[in-house]
Amino acid sequence: MTGSWEPVVGIEVHVQLATRSKIFSSTSVEFGAEPNTRANLIDLAMPGALPVLNEEVVSMAVKFGLAIDAEIAETCVFDRKNYFYPDLPKGYQISQFESPIVGRGQLPVFLEDGSVRDIGITRAHLEEDAGKSVHDRFAESTGIDLNRAGTPLLEIVTEPDMRSAAEAAACFKQLHSLVSWLGICDGNLAEGSMRCDANVSVRPVGDKTFGERTEIKNINSFRFVERALNYEIERQIDILEHGGEVVRETRQYDAGRDMTFSMRSKELSDDYRYFPDPDLLPLRLSTAFLDYVRSTMPELPQQKLERFVEDFTLVRPVAVRLTRDHDIAKFYETTVALGADPQITANWLLGEVAAALNREEKGYDDVPVSPQQLADLMKRIEDKTLSSSLAKEVFEGMWSSDKSVDEIIEDRGLRQLSDVDELRSLVESVINEHPEQVEQVRGGATKVIGYLVGQVMKTSQGKADPKKVNDLLRRLLNI
């Protein structure tokens, strides 16, 4: 059924910028403080109070613009978006309407299948967040908490370039990864540091024009973006296939029931009476300022990826996974810089470490093992002190203690048996104990040699170097 329909999706992501203070006042930005203790007379919109733009906000927006290779506006303007709401103290929100700070750019999005899609970024503009209504604190009335009012937001708008819910989720994820990478957002979705609105329509495959769209507001997880869009895509297809018409409206996603529902009709668009805020002069960015911001840019994921392929001779899919987020890339680089083998380290980070983090629902910013510990472990693998199975045991040990690799090896007696004399006596006793299998091997059934190796490993409690055991067996049995 879906085969004959093509979804078209564009998203708008509100990114809370990780500044120390608010966008137009010196109040510190802090999540979870007592209501209205992070609001000064500017945030409260006291009569006579005036906004002053926070420079840190500007450099963060420019960083994002540079990272997506976008046009950075030489001059941009702050506008007033007028509407009444109790959590909007001035009766208008300061935003950017006609001339945003960041213009058209491109975002390479990595999809699940390892392919990359370039998604167009229409624009990104700066604005202030509103406060919050508090419904559960007073019995008869609603409270207003203005701590969040004036928190800086960068609103990123994409082109309608995505063709599935999964692509939209991947794009949101990519933006999350990029803004965290740039250090301009803490990326904490649970605290609302990033919120996604998705515009979606469907059209018969092959059609060039877009169908009527709906907007799903305020989705705050990657998974929900995908689910909400899948629900909405199916809903629209169902309407169209039954001869109905999609109504242009704003919808909300209810994660509990896994469905979207209508919030308000958008047929009559609101008139926000945008006009340039006369309290803020047009913002002109000097070449010197742009150069300065450019000089503070970290190496971007794409650049790092190419460098990993080049310097560490990694295959591209591995390099892609190692540069997908800033923390894993940093962990990898630090470990390798400490002398670990790039290949072994890559395998371990994406294998054992990833699995362990996954099990405990932790991220690469919160690995209980330090890069130094991991690097030491990698060295012990490289110098054959540890077999890979022993290495896994040491890794488990490091995960739950601060001990060094060598301490754990000593404590648990895990050192790999590679002393030739010791190995020889082990191998000889296995040969003596298994005359039948030895006969088979000598008779040409070389596969059985694996059984004998297994027996040696067993008696050595896994400490024997399996490669050496194999060699030794072949030598002693003259095959």
């Binding site: 006291m46 009569p47 005036l50 007028n82 009766g91 009476r273």
Partner: protein, 484 residues
């Protein structure tokens, strides 16, 4: 002690201990007590605190380095926020609002040692040219109690004109310092936009609002400006420029004379302006006739732009956080509507409505955008004129003070009061309004307009004129109620 004494004399007397700051303050407080009932200049008199501050000033005066305005009384227009003393904007909406902070201007003036007597009456939210829109009642012109003092800084100007204070702050958006100064015979300056901080000055139209000094003479205006001006990091539109400096030698100016502006003006007023022109010529200045284009479109453009800005500047008065909130309401929307309906007066509502209209989708280009273009053309016209002249001499008002109530029902006639002041505001230029004669016992003013940040020359021109004339030294007789 006597009223109508200038800053320099007060300073000399205070430092010579001829009288104390407390005595001086008490003298003005007594005069306010005597006269305010009749004129209604003050919304709030801060008796207790001003005497305390005067006592502090007296200790300061005894030290070797008293501040420049130490112990000299001043009155603040009631749109400058003052911590601890209510700031009403002459509106029911803010009638019991006490700001938690001082406006930058208030702080600067207090740091300069001046003693704030209280807060002066004004048109509600500075919207008006007659001071009749105040929630606290109109202000009378000290020269004739049946006439308006002008507006919106009517209380400030009348308080100086009646000798209740030697200095006052005002604000000028389209003429709110210059027009009342002209109607009451005092001297007032609208500084260049960006010269004086707007932080803590309750906004009417942000791109035009400018605080400024009102006093008995250009000399005193300069003294007060020196305390008020300066870059303020809390105001993004505050300019980073050097402080106002008077020219060290007396200069001979080329003064532009926009002759066509005087056509259609009340002949008697035109005659006073021409007389001033001759006086400048006699002083050795050169008069050059100039043209200022697009002036006829300025009033319309001003009312579109100022109302548009006002409509959103006043959105914060919603009854949620401070200010008037209705007693009973059914829901949120009803609370907004009732609070604002009850809190704002008619003229404020008129401006909010017209401003909202001109910013709406479908009307924005025809009104707001077009008005911005006119603003640019008016400004360009002035800048072109200042290529060949140093100052411009112009009328301030089309009439002398009119009778209270006579224009109340005709807003457009009222708006035309600001015909000569508005173009200067649109261009963001400094202009000094100073007395240049009388008609039937009522003062007539003129304005000296300068290029951006040309306050030094504007004031020097005014000072030169006031050395040769005594119009600014005429004061109304207030001993008994003026004749009907």
């Amino acid at each position: 002690m006597k009223p109508f004494v200038g800053v320099r004399e007060l300073r000399t007397d205070l430092q010579a201990k001829k009288y104390s700051a407390v005595e001086l303050t008490q003298f003005y407080l007594d005069r306010i007590a005597d006269l305010n009932d009749r004129i209604n200049c003050f919304i709030t008199v801060d008796t207790e605190r001003c005497l305390e501050r005067a006592a502090v000033a007296d200790r300061q005066l005894a030290s070797s380095h008293p501040q420049p305005l130490c112990g000299i009384p001043i009155a603040h227009k009631d749109l400058f926020c003052t911590a601890g003393v209510r700031t009403t904007c002459a509106s029911n909406m803010l009638k019991s609002f006490i700001a938690p902070y001082d406006a930058t201007v208030v702080k600067q003036i207090s740091d300069a040692g001046a003693i704030s007597l209280g807060k002066t009456n004004m048109d509600e939210f500075a919207m008006g040219s007659s001071n009749e829109t105040s929630y606290f009642g109109g202000v009378s012109n000290p020269w004739n109690m049946k006439r308006v003092p002008g507006g919106s800084s009517g209380g400030a100007v009348a308080s100086v004109a009646s000798g209740m204070t030697p200095l006052a702050t005002g604000s000028d958006t389209g003429g709110s310092i210059r027009q009342p100064a002209s109607l009451c015979g005092v001297t007032g300056l609208k500084p260049t936009y960006g010269r004086v901080s707007r932080f803590g000055m309750i906004a009417f139209a942000s791109s035009l609002d400018q605080g400024g000094p009102i006093a008995h003479s250009a000399d005193d205006v300069y003294e007060l400006l020196a305390a008020m001006e300066g870059h303020d990091p809390q105001d993004s539109t505050s300019a980073r420029v050097k402080e106002t400096v008077l020219p060290t030698r007396e200069r001979r100016y080329v003064i532009g004379y926009p002759e066509s502006l005087l056509e259609g003006l009340d002949e008697r007023i035109a005659e006073r302006i021409q007389q001033a022109r001759r006086q400048f010529e006699a002083l050795g200045h050169k008069i050059e006739v100039i043209e200022l284009p697009y002036i006829d479109a300025a009033v319309a453009a001003y009312y579109v732009l100022s109302s548009a800005e006002a409509s959103t500047n006043l959105a914060r008065y919603d009854g949620v956080r401070y200010g008037h909130r209705t007693e009973t309401s059914e829901d949120l929307l009803d609370m907004y509507c009732r609070s604002r309906t009850e809190g704002f007066g008619l003229e404020v509502k008129r401006r909010i409505l017209t401003g909202t209209y001109s910013l709406s989708v479908g009307y924005f280009d025809a009104y707001y955008l077009k008005a911005q273009k006119i603003r640019r053309l008016v400004r360009d016209g002035f800048l072109a004129a200042f290529e060949s002249v140093d100052l411009i001499l112009a009328p301030v008002t089309p009439t002398t003070a009119f009778e209270i109530g006579s224009l109340r029902s005709d807003p457009v006639e009222m708006y035309k009061q600001d015909l000569y002041t508005i173009p200067v505001s649109l261009a963001g230029l400094p202009a000094l309004s100073l007395p240049c004669g009388f008609i039937d016992g009522l003062p007539v003013g003129m304005q000296l307009i300068g290029p951006h940040f040309g306050e030094g020359d504007v004031l020097a021109g005014g000072m030169a004129f006031q050395r040769e004339t005594d119009w600014h030294e005429q004061h109304p007789s207030l001993d008994e109620p003026s004749a009907p």
